[in-house]
């Protein structure tokens, strides 16, 4: 047995807690968390906009989350989110005078709000747990309902854990002003998603989690608010994720480093990497920087500008989110602890960059955005 810095009492006490009659497998504390945040996109450049409002998007979000043990063997969570959105959004892209692409922006501001509720209930046993969840998200033109199930199993005294989950959701869209703008009346899509993960403790200070995900979407997948946006009626998405955590005694620092590879049937490949350092882990003030790098290739039906000559049954989209681009995001996070109450503050700045895109052949899409998010939250544990 490796020599430990802990006192004999600490070692024996935690060993005692692993004994069958004494170990509690479900979470032992109740957490209530609220947060409010503002997301603000930078205005589109005037030379990038052919027509319409330059003012871009803003979203104010309020979040509520509660998780609690229920009895000795159960636990549950409730979350509620409310978003208030305003601002203009690109309707399409046209070729401009010098061969550059330019945006056609929606005229009037979009003013919409979204409310989402998610509930989950989990039953715990010593080495495994099963959970079910339901969720609903509603905007005045969009409603989504989902159900999910999760299974987790521990092995080797919890050195290794296996997780399996599956979910099904149905989304319905009834675009506003459908008649006026000759948009689709209504459409729906169904998504089935599966996920498997392995969590492995590597050393007393390091842990890794590897996951594979598969999501299949069927139905109306196009954006009805764009002037010409036709997407295939099926989409298969795959993800591989690695999440690594490491604790350093120097300044009680925690490193969280994550990588995701995404590839789908739209021929999009995307790499996402993010890292976060937290200094003062476990002490009254925890703070640290975050960095995120993202790069994606274009969808195989992506076009730099809308081609109305093409039949409207043929897939095409000039949505910047399907173009080849990348992004860098820098942020700062701080947590202040006062006993059971914590205050959490976050700032993030995101900048899209054409040259970080994968296999990019074309010019930068004028719709590439930059944004800032500021959020403030409070948590209470008991």
């Amino acid at each position: 047995m490796a020599k430990s810095l802990k006192s004999p009492l600490a070692i024996l006490s935690s060993a005692a807690m692993s004994m069958p009659a004494l170990s509690a497998s479900q979470p032992s504390e109740t957490l209530v968390s609220v947060a409010t945040s503002i997301y603000q996109e930078g205005d589109a450049r005037s030379d990038a906009v052919a027509f319409g409002d330059q003012e871009r998007f803003e979203v104010k979000t309020n979040q509520f989350y509660l998780s609690s043990p229920i009895g000795r063997n159960w636990s549950g969570t409730v979350s509620y989110d409310n978003e208030a959105m305003s601002g203009a959004s690109p309707w399409g892209t046209i070729e401009g005078a010098d061969g550059d692409y330019q945006l056609i922006m929606s005229g009037a501001s979009i003013d919409d709000s979204r409310n989402g509720v998610d509930l989950s209930l989990t039953r715990h046993w010593r080495k495994q747990s099963i959970g079910v969840s339901v969720g609903y998200s509603g905007e005045h033109d969009y409603h989504a309902r989902s159900v999910g199930i999760t299974y987790e199993r521990d092995f080797l005294k919890k050195n290794t854990s296996l997780g399996l989950s599956a979910s099904y959701s149905t989304d319905d869209i009834t675009p506003t002003d459908a008649q006026l703008f000759q948009r689709l009346d209504s459409g729906s899509k169904h998504s089935r998603s599966y996920y498997v993960s392995i969590n492995q403790l590597l050393t007393p200070v390091a842990m890794i989690n590897l996951g594979l995900g598969l999501t299949r979407r069927d139905g109306y997948l196009s954006d009805p608010y764009k002037l010409r946006d036709v997407r295939p009626g099926k989409r298969l998405e795959r993800t591989f994720t690695a999440q690594y955590r490491h604790y350093f005694d120097w300044q009680s620092t925690t490193l969280a480093a994550n990588y995701r590879y995404f590839w789908d049937s739209y021929a999009i490949d995307a790499h996402t990497g993010d890292a976060q350092l937290t200094f003062g882990t476990g002490s009254r003030v925890e703070w640290g920087p975050t960095l995120r790098l993202y790069g994606q290739s274009a969808a195989d039906f992506y076009v730099p500008w809308d081609d109305y000559g093409l039949e409207d049954t043929i897939a095409q989209s000039s949505d910047h989110r399907l173009s080849s681009f990348g992004a860098v995001s820098l942020g700062l996070k701080a947590r202040f602890k006062m006993g059971p109450a914590h205050i959490v503050a976050r700032y993030q700045q995101y900048e899209s960059k054409k040259h970080l895109g994968l296999r990019s052949k074309t010019q930068a899409h004028p719709g590439l955005i930059r944004f800032k998010v500021v959020s403030l939250g409070a948590e209470y544990r008991f």
């Binding site: 047995m1 430990s4 802990k6 600490a10 060993a15 609220v34 947060a35 979350s79 919409d112 998610d118 969840s133 969720g135 998200s137 905007e139 033109d141 969009y142 989504a144 309902r145 989902s146 005294k157 989950s165 959701s169 869209i173 998603s193 599966y194 996920y195 392995i198 492995q200 403790l201 590597l202 050393t203 007393p204 200070v205 842990m207 989690n209 996951g211 995900g213 999501t215 998405e237 993800t239 955590r245 604790y247 969280a256 995701r260 995404f262 590839w263 739209y266 995307a270 996402t272 993202y294 994606q296 969808a299 989110r321 992004a327 959490v344 976050r346 944004f371 998010v373 959020s375 939250g377």
Partner: protein
């Protein structure tokens, strides 16, 4: 051919994973105090993660990666 190269890549990944996990040290329960720090958990800051996921989902083509997909929204 597109699909094949991905399957091969996945095969290599799974082999790598099995080897990685086979070489792991066994961490005893009383050695886990640092691993148990909230900042070390995948579920640290659930609220912040949900917000990030929502933001990136609506601005990028890639999504998901940490669980089975939940419900959607009109944002993408």
């Amino acid at each position: 051919m597109y699909a094949n190269s991905h399957v091969k890549g996945l095969g290599k990944l799974i082999a790598f994973t099995v080897l990685l996990l086979a070489g792991c040290q066994n961490v005893e329960p009383w050695e886990r105090d640092r691993l148990a720090e909230p900042a070390m958990q995948l579920s640290a800051d659930i609220t912040g993660s949900k917000l990030d996921q929502q933001v990136f989902f609506s601005k990028e083509a890639a999504s998901g990666g940490t669980s089975a997909a939940g419900g959607g929204c009109g944002c993408n």
